[in-house]
Structure formats: C-alpha cells, structure tokens
Amino acid sequence: MGATEQRTMTLNMGPQHPSTHGVLRLILELDGEIVVKVTPELGYLHRAIGKIAEGLRYEQFVPYTDRLDYLAASINNLGYVQGVEKLMEIEAPARARYLRVLFCELSRIESHLIWLGTHILDLGATTPLFYCFRERETIRDLFEEVCGARMTHAYFRIGGVRQDIPTGFLQKVREFYRTFPSRLAQYETLITNNPIFLRRARGVGAISAEKAVAYGLSGPSLRGSGVEWDLRKAEPYAAYGDLDFEVPTGANGDVYDRYLVRIEEMKQSLRLVEQAAENLPEGAVKADAPQFIRPPREEVHRNMQAMIRYFYITMHGGSPPPGEVYSAVEGSKGEVAFYLVSDGTPKPARVDIRGPSFVNLSALNEMSKGQYVADLVAIMGSIDIVLGEVDR
C-alpha cells in the first residue's frame, strides 16, 4: 500500500439539470458531498440584447426587455421606459404611473410565486409548485385582459402605457387581493414551520451584510442579510412615493431569511396592488409630448398636424437630445438597470443592462463553499436567478 492521495471530484452540473433553472452550467469541485468550489459557466442564452438595441428605435426595444427577466416582464419594461423618458425629459401622467405600479407589483408577486414553487421543488416537495401556479394563472389572466399577453407584456410605452384598462378589470384585481392572503397562508402552513424545511434552510448559505454589499447583491438576496435597501423606497419612482409599504429585511442572510423576506414581500406587494387599484387617478395614460409620442387616433383623423406627427414618429421615431442616463428600478430579483447613451438620433448609441440575477449569481461560490451538494441547490433557489437575465 502506497500513500493514499486525496483528490476532489469535479462534477459538471447543467446546462441540462433540473435545478439549474434554465441553461446554467456549474462546475463543482466536490470533496465527497461537500462543495469546495463552484464555478458558474455562462453564455448558453446569450443573445446580445444590448447590441440589438443599437439597431432599433427607442420604442422598438421595449418588447426585447420583456425577455430579460421573463418572469416579471413589466418591471424590465419600466426600467427601460423610465430611462428613455429621462433622456427625452418627459413624464408619464399620474394614471399611467399608478397602472405601472399595479403591473409591476403583480409581476413581482408572480415572480415570487415561481420562485417559491421551484425553490421548494428543488428541496423535494412537489406540491407547492402546483398551488403557486394556480395563483400565477389568476395573475396572468389579469395581464391578458389588459394587454393580451400573459407573460411578455410589453404594456408600458415611452411616456405612459399602451392603453387604458378595460372596464371591470379593477373588480377582478380586487377579487385577487381578497383571495390571495388565504392562499399565501396555505403555503406558509406547508412550508414556513415545516421542521424538514427549517433544517434545510436555517444557517445554510449564509452571507454577511458586508459581504453581500461587497458582492453588489440586490433585491431580496441583499435584504435577507439585513441591509434595508429598496429602490422603491430609496429613490421612489413611478407612484411609489405616494404609496405606503414596508421593506422587509432578514438578519442572518441564510436561505431561510431570504425565504421569509420574499414571503413578506408578496404581502407588501399585495398592499401596493390594493392601494394602486383603489387610488387610481383619472386622466390620460400617455404623456402629452408631440415630438416623441404619437397623438391619439381620434385626433389623427381630425387634425392634419396630428396626422403628420403620427406618420413622422411611426416612420422616423423621436430623437432625444444627446446625453446619457442610468435608470434603475427594483426588480423582483434585485436592481434592474439600463444605461442608455443617446447621440441625438432616433436609435440609442449604447444600451447596457444590469441584470440583478447575474450579479447575485456571483456570490454563489461564497455562499456555498463548505456546504453539501443538496444545500447548493437550496442556495441557488434562494438567490432566485433567471437565466434570461444572467445571459443577455
């Protein structure tokens, strides 16, 4: 018998693996079942979205932003259109801003529902996923009623929203926020105090507040570590300044705290939905900015000037003054941001996107070092990545 050699095992996880939530590839170094190192391999879903933007007029790029975090499409739309609005120096009317909040918060709930279902599925419980999809279906029916699309909404437009909500829509929203709390309570009975879940989640994948900030984490992954940072509160946009809500935070930064933060966020989002629906102001849903935004149809049919503007914007597009902006919104996964550079032409000179999933993923190695393979799956679920945003 010679001297035994100790070696780690390299395990390739993904891009086809049930728990990598898409086409993520992880290269794991394992010592038995203990993770020594995780190296994410990206790029399987790279579409060069930023480059595509340079060939499109500002308004044409809105549907592409849907495909970033496709689980909460409206929030991406908002980040982009607010950036363009800043460039063009226009502001959406109050009704549009409230509708944006309504859509964004419904999207946030929808996205968190998917997170909850898949996260628990990764831990072996199959049933909550189906319950989550039941509620998600209701939300998507609401979206469909307003804009026809269920997942990739592209409802927000530069200077407002595409169209006003149909009659009876608010009644359905009301129904939703009346039934949802009891449904959420169902999940909580299944999961929150489940001893198996507690053992799987408590103290697993902990990251300190300092480290979380150093890695640039944002969203629930950051707040789980106890850092109270939410762009909706810190730099209120849309109608968030007028509305009342709280920013839940955790303390330990482990899987369980991130879980609690997201569950509480759903409740807060529901409050926001309720307030936005109840206090929805009357008025136009598009800004009055003839150099960038098409005049309404009725006017086009009556007014020659309006018709000319309509054709001009459709054929040529509005050109914002040269300049650059950074527009960030609080997405369901963290800070969704667009950096836009205008050279005074109808097409952006440069679009750079900050995908929170990408940044949050960078802390995966830090969180999972020294944990079990099974924990890695729990941790990955708890930082809630979506690959459309990791690879852009």
Binding site: M9, T126, V377
Partner: protein, 325 residues
C-alpha cells in the same frame, strides 16, 4: 412433501408472482391519481376508463423502448443491478401471511430471513450507481449505502421488540399473537421507529436521497432506460408494498380483524388488503406533502434519534413482557 403439496406451493408462488406486477401497476396508478388530487390535477385519465389502464400503457412503453447501456458502463453489473433490487423485494412476499392460512411458506425464523432478504435490495442500487460510471449515479449509490447501514440497524432493533412480545420469529405466529392487542398499541415507539426506517429503506420522500432529482438528476438510475428503469421502479414499488404489508403484519394485527379468524379466507384477506392499502396511501401522502431531508441530517436522525429510541423501545417491551408474566 407429496407431489400434490409441491404443486400447490408452486401454484401459490405463481399466483403471487403474477399478482405483484399487477398490484405494483395499480400502485403507480394510485400514486399518480392521489398525487394529482393533492396537487390540483386530474392525474392520468386517458388510457381506459378513469385512466385505469395507464399502468399497462406504461409497461408496454418501457418494454418496447430501446435498452441503452452507456459505453463506459460495466455492462454485466449494469444489467444485473435492476434485478438485484427487484428480486429481493418480491421474494419477501413469500413470508407474508396475506390472510388466514394464506402464506406461501411459514419459516420459523421468518423475521431474520425478511431482514436478510430485504437488505439485499440496496446492493442493486449501489451496483447500479457504480456500474453506470456516472458521477451522479455514483453519488446516489453511495448515499444509498450509507442510508442503508444507518437504518437497517434501528429497523432490526424495532423488530426485536416485536419478537420479544410475540415470543416467536414466525410471521404467521406473530399475527396470531396480536389477536388480543395490536403491537402498534403495545409498543407505539417501536412502530414509529419501524415506520421511519421503513420509509428510509424504500428510498421514498422525505428520504429519497439516492435519487434526489433536485441535486443528483435521478441519482442511481440516471443512466437507466427502458426496462432497466422499469425494473428499478418495479423494485421500488414492490418495496413499498412489502413495507406496508410488514407494517400491517408486524404491528397492526396482519389479517386479523373482527370475525376474521372465524370467517377466515376472503374476509381476512380483505382486512389485510385494507390495512396495507392504508399504509401505501400514507407513503403517497407523504410524498405529496414533505420536502426532502439532507443526507447528513438523515444520518443524524438515524444514529442519534432512531437508534436510542429503538433501544428504549426494547427496554419498554422487556418491562411490559416481564410484568405481563
């Protein structure tokens, strides 16, 4: 043994052997239907009335599919492994009294034989994991080996309680000795230990570590296709049936029930089927409700909780038997 006796035994074996795949088939169907109900779905409802023939369609599919063996696999072991899980799970049925006088054989060391045979099933999983030559399968196989060692022990100790109380190792006599009081009432702790170890033995949620699709793809049977996969499934569900049947036999009075001894035959079989179905349902119910525990937590539970509990149970039974005189 006269030739007629031999023929009768062979006939019994044939009946049981033919019934098991059918029962397993209905078991998978029941699982999918019940899970469907739990999860707001319908479950299979296309093949046959209410989807009752779904299991046949599944079987036909599995049999007719191409049996792929990975190029790097250890071919002989790869083929043998699924059989190794299935055969022991089916063999155990030979020992179980299904009704009054309805057992294939009454071995006087029945419990020992049972423990010995049912532990063999794990070899199939370990070999399958090893022979696939895939890292995921290997990890699944390793987990299974560790899980097996941890749980076999407390399970065996839980059985000691049963043997002490019944004063026999024959399963038939154990059922007889529960006429007055079911062992689940006399030694609830023993039942709890046996139940948890039983779930761990069959690799079912919340202890389905060896497959753990969340982290290991499908664990030990990741590389298996067609009937190799089918045999593993057959083995798994046979093991569930076996466990449910054992819980019935060892702790819940087996085929016993009101008027069962007097009427015998079909009535006693009915009681047995009813009780066993209940435990199968519990297995499925747990799958629909619980998340999976982690590998090291499973070990900790086995060694630090179940083992002391099973020892405590033996102490309790010893006192009980001594006082009863």
């Amino acid at each position: 043994m006269t030739p007629a006796d031999l023929l009768f035994v062979l006939l019994k074996i044939l009946v049981v052997l033919l019934l098991i795949p059918v029962t397993v088939g209905f078991c998978t169907l029941a699982e999918r239907k019940i899970l469907g109900r739990i999860q707001l779905r319908f479950g299979p409802n296309r093949a046959g009335p209410f989807g009752l023939l779904q299991w046949m369609a599944d079987a036909v599919k599995l049999i007719t599919k191409e049996y792929l063996i990975p190029g790097e696999a250890d071919k002989a072991l790869f083929v043998i492994a699924p059989l190794l899980t299935m055969v022991p799970a089916v063999t155990v049925f030979a020992l179980i009294p299904f009704g009054k006088g309805m057992e294939i054989t009454d071995v006087n060391v029945g419990i020992l034989m049972l423990v010995a045979i049912s532990s063999l099933g794990t070899y199939g999983i370990i070999f399958g994991g090893w022979a696939s030559n895939s890292k995921y399968s290997l990890l699944g196989g390793l987990r299974s080996a560790a899980q097996m060692i941890s749980y076999e022990l407390s399970m065996g100790l839980a059985l000691v309680g049963v043997v002490m109380m019944a004063g026999t190792m024959s399963l038939v006599e154990i059922v007889e000795s529960q006429k007055g009081l079911w062992f689940i009432v006399a030694q609830p702790l023993g039942f709890i230990v046996f139940f948890i170890s039983g779930v761990a033995e069959t690799n079912r949620l919340p202890f389905d570590m060896p497959e753990a699709e969340g982290d290991l793809g499908a664990g030990y049977h990741t590389e298996y296709s067609a009937m190799g996969f089918g045999l593993f499934q057959l083995g798994e569900y046979s093991a569930i049936l076996t466990m449910a049947a054992l819980m019935t036999t060892l702790f819940c009075g087996g085929w016993g029930g009101p008027a069962a001894a007097a009427l015998g035959g079909a009535v006693s079989l009915g009681y047995f089927v009813l009780k066993t179905s209940f435990f199968v349902f519990v297995f499925i119910w747990m799958r629909g409700t619980l998340p999976r525990v982690r590998y090291d937590q499973l070990m900790a539970l086995g060694w630090k909780v179940l083992l002391p509990l099973s020892l405590l149970n033996i102490l309790w039974v010893a006192g009980y038997v001594a006082l009863r005189g």
